[in-house]
């Protein structure tokens, strides 16, 4: 139960976050003032340089290529890693493998002449494995709240 709940929380939160990002240009296209508040929210997180951001419907997304890649990678990890058992086990056994993705991203930031797709891709691969650790954290935190279910399930199992 904790596993499913943690996955639902993680995927739902990621979808909400990305939905907020996509909502900004759509709201701006409709002329809604909510767009500027969304932009203000993400202004704390991202530089929002127009040349380094995607545009949707002619309006800029409130985060840059790399940030979008990071969020998409996190969502991708949350969706894929529960089923990708070999990679999941390997990541949990060797957590420092995270540094590979971060290293690639740092390489792209500091050394390579990066392009939009390299920013998107390195962000994606840096965040992809992080999801498994966040899911583990959620699973370890959830039982304290939902422990009442376990004894109840146990009773049902006996019956």
């Amino acid at each position: 139960m904790q596993r499913k709940l943690a996955a639902v929380l993680l995927i739902g939160g990621s979808l909400l976050w990305i939905g907020l990002i996509l909502a900004s240009p759509l709201a701006r296209a409709q002329g809604w003032s909510a767009a500027s508040w969304i932009d203000l929210f993400f202004q704390q997180i991202c530089h929002q340089i127009p040349e380094r951001s995607f545009h949707l419907d002619g309006h800029q997304l409130p985060v840059c290529h790399r940030c979008l890649g990071i969020y998409l990678g996190f969502l991708g990890g949350a969706l894929a890693l529960p089923f990708w058992h070999s990679l999941r086990r390997r990541l949990l056994a060797q957590p420092r493998l995270l540094l590979v993705g971060f290293g690639l991203m740092a390489l792209d930031v500091f050394l390579l002449p990066n392009t939009w797709w390299s920013r998107l891709a390195t962000g994606f691969f840096a965040a992809f494995p992080v999801a498994v650790f966040v899911e583990m954290a959620f699973r370890q935190l959830l039982p304290a709240t939902f422990s009442i279910r376990q004894p109840l399930q146990s009773i049902h199992a006996r019956e």
């Binding site: 957590p95 399930q153 006996r158």
Partner: protein, 275 residues
């Protein structure tokens, strides 16, 4: 939670201080434009200090709580640091305020008194303070999220192969029967993956295997945390999320084993649809 949970405050305060001061200072806080890098760094620092001070293996759940505290402290410190600058130089939210003021001025339906009142508010800095309060609320959310991520990443990177929290004494070891109702007689709050299975014995107990013998007792593997396995973990502390709780097959001490956290939680059998 491990026994080191009592010492979360100090690392959280130090991490929060670093990220709060760095995020509150103009120009220095520009690094936050890179996916809240200062905030993530603050979480990493907090988890580094926490892992360093901890005698036991730090769990990711602990790191998440640590990161939440770090982000909370950081948001408060950042607001305290930036508030005088905001009031002095009218930095925060000035663009939005000017934009709103322009809209009010250009709107013929708005009475001029209201526009003047708004201008007074803007010039007095009251609205800047209001923006700071709103900024604090936004910062708390963002900082808590990203510091939590940083702390979890930090634990993943800095984690050493330490021992784990000793499992609570198994009552069934002394030959006493397991709790009859499965209401968690020997189960602790730190047994998240204990699932539905009653500790020490259950409907499909593995043939009276000794409770402390772990998965090597020939019984079925422990639950995958899905809460649906009928095979109970043999030890009360063998939660799916407690990485090294299961006794090693060879009887070696847990700390000597290679870090193999949660492999038991990832058995495909636990992910069967409908399970």
């Amino acid at each position: 939670m491990t026994d080191a949970s009592a010492s979360k405050m100090r690392p959280a305060l130090i991490g929060g201080l670093v990220l709060g001061v760095a995020s509150g200072l103009p120009f220095v806080n520009a690094l936050n434009c890179a996916c809240c890098l200062w905030v993530v760094i603050g979480g990493v620092i907090a988890s580094y200090l926490y892992v360093k001070d901890s005698t036991l293996k730090v769990e990711y759940g602990d790191a998440a709580v640590l990161g939440l505290f770090t982000g909370l402290f950081g948001a408060i410190i950042s607001t305290i640091v930036s508030l005088p600058l905001t009031l002095m130089f009218n930095i925060g939210g000035s663009a939005q305020m000017d934009q709103t003021l322009e809209q009010l001025r250009s709107n013929p339906d708005v009475p001029p008194e209201l526009v003047r009142f708004f201008e007074t508010l803007v010039n007095s800095g009251v609205l800047s303070a209001g923006f700071s309060v709103v900024g604090l609320l936004i910062s708390i959310v963002i900082f808590a999220l990203f510091a939590m991520l940083g702390a979890i990443i930090g634990v993943a990177i800095f984690q050493k192969d330490k021992g784990t929290a000793p499992p609570p004494p198994a009552k069934t070891d002394s030959g006493t029967p397991p709790p009859p109702s499965g209401m968690g007689g020997t189960r602790t709050g730190s047994d998240p993956g204990g699932s539905s299975a009653p500790p020490g014995g259950g409907p499909s107990s593995s043939g009276g295997a000794p409770p402390s013998s772990g998965p090597s007792s020939g019984g079925p593997p422990p639950s995958s945390g899905g809460g649906t396995s009928t095979a109970p973990p043999s030890s009360p502390a063998q939660g799916a999320e407690r990485p090294s709780s299961p006794a090693p097959p060879s009887g070696a001490p847990a700390a000597d084993r290679p870090a193999a956290p949660d492999e038991e939680t990832d058995e495909p059998s636990g992910d069967k649809p409908g399970s």
